[in-house]
């Protein structure tokens, strides 16, 4: 492939993907033809019910595919660009200073540093041993999965931009406050002392030209896609049956109002979903009657208090720290849902 094409490709894909995201919001019609199983002229009836059992997942996936290929391409290539262009070690050093601002920096930079969720725990460790300590490390740890930027793009695209904005804002405020509060506890300070003698090593950052970085971005994008798409496909396959068969009365009774917010905040903890699948799951529950406030609580609480990540972190800082932030995360998710329900849903 020519060097010019290698350099331009990621930017071209981002532009086209962005166009498929923005055009419908501006004009109300999609840029490319889409297939929607749900007929908009019968808003109270979900046409998915008309399809036989074995066709349900394929109809569902096809419908999403025609609407989501653009945002998917945009999200993966943008993710690749972020991995290839963001100077990770420089940002880590910047986040690691011991001022109050490091809480804010940890919250702001988290989405830029954890496109691949595997990097989350080492970077958390890095902040722990830096001058910043447990507080900003926890803020980073909580913000990264809750405001993972690919998840934000998809939340906006599949659910609503309003929910995406508040997911981001409440996650940020929650992450900063919880990080601060937990870092003041005795057990957290003990952990910090345990790691105080370790200093991080630095290595030479490889220098690449803009062309090389652009092509690296494409390679990273394909790594991301291979990592996420198979599980996403399997997840959406399963969710199609939820949307087809789960009784709506169950959802409306338990997942609306204040009870709904509380339940959604709590079930986030044992619910483990692979990256992006939680958004499709929440969307299908909303179609069934889940309240937006409950959806928000779930989208904030589930990533912050996910059991696999809690288990990994507990090996580094112990269960007292993890338990504290998990409980606070569920409370924060609950409060976010309540605030949304009371003040924002009518905006």
């Amino acid at each position: 492939m020519s060097k010019l094409l290698k350099t331009i490709l990621p930017w071209l894909i981002i532009a086209v993907g962005l166009a498929t995201v923005i055009y419908p919001r501006v004009t109300g019609t999609p840029l490319f033809p889409v297939f929607n199983y749900d007929n908009p002229s019968t808003p109270d009836y979900n046409e998915l019910m008309d399809y036989p059992f074995w066709q349900v997942p394929f109809v569902y996936i096809f419908s999403y595919l025609t609407r989501a290929w653009g945002p998917l391409a945009f999200a993966f290539v943008l993710g690749g660009v972020i991995v290839a262009f963001v100077p990770k070690q420089k940002m880590q050093r910047y986040m690691g200073s011991s001022s109050f601002y490091s809480f804010l920096r940890a919250g702001l930079f988290a989405p830029l540093l954890t496109v691949c969720s595997c990097a989350m725990i080492p970077i958390f460790g890095g902040l722990l041993i830096s001058g910043a300590g447990t507080g900003p490390a926890l803020t980073f740890l909580l913000m990264a999965p809750a405001a993972n930027f690919m998840a934000l793009i998809f939340t906006s695209q599949i659910i609503s931009t309003k929910i995406m904005v508040f997911r981001y804002l409440f996650s940020f405020v929650g992450a900063v406050l919880i990080g601060y509060v937990v870092s003041r506890t005795k057990w957290s300070k003990q952990q910090e002392a345990k790691y105080a003698s370790i200093t991080s090593v630095s290595s030479e950052e490889a220098k690449f030209t803009f062309s090389e970085k652009s092509w690296n971005a494409m390679k990273e994008a394909s790594i991301l896609a291979k990592l996420v798409l198979p599980y996403l496909g399997a997840g959406v396959f399963g969710i199609s049956f939820i949307e087809r068969y789960l009784p709506a009365e169950l959802i409306v009774n338990y997942l609306s109002g204040t009870t709904g917010v509380a339940l959604a905040a709590v079930i986030g903890v044992p619910t483990y979903t692979p990256t992006l699948v939680e958004i499709f799951l929440v969307k299908s529950l909303i179609v069934k009657g889940m309240a937006p406030a409950a959806a928000l609580a779930f989208l904030i609480g589930a990533p912050m208090a996910s059991i696999p990540s809690m288990m990994a972190v507990s090996r580094i800082v112990g269960w007292r720290v993890v338990g504290s932030y998990a409980i606070l995360a569920v409370i924060a998710a609950f409060i976010a849902g309540l605030v949304y329900q009371t003040f924002i849903v009518t905006l």
């Binding site: 691949c116 460790g125 041993i129 290595s203 580094i316």
Partner: protein, 80 residues
């Protein structure tokens, strides 16, 4: 004998770094072991804050990216 350590919890990037290391050793015809360090606490205690990371004989050469085979060859050659 040369000791190459690959730090990472087992994601595809870490495995690729391991593969590149073995390939570099083979191309230079050197005796060496490639050890995968997957325990998070052990990784952190070495001061490593981004994975995948690679160390040759205890010296951390790359952090947060997959080093290419030719880069690893350059580092291995500089050891002599």
């Amino acid at each position: 004998m040369i000791k190459i350590e690959v730090f990472g919890t087992g994601c595809p990037k870490c495995k690729q770094t391991g593969k590149n290391s073995k390939e570099a050793l083979r191309e230079l015809g050197l005796e060496g072991e490639v050890k995968q360090v997957t325990d998070q606490v052990a990784i952190l205690q070495r001061g490593i804050t981004l994975t995948p990371a690679l160390a040759i004989n205890g010296d951390v050469k790359a952090m947060g990216r997959i080093p290419e085979v030719k880069e690893i060859i350059t580092w291995l050659s500089a050891l002599r």
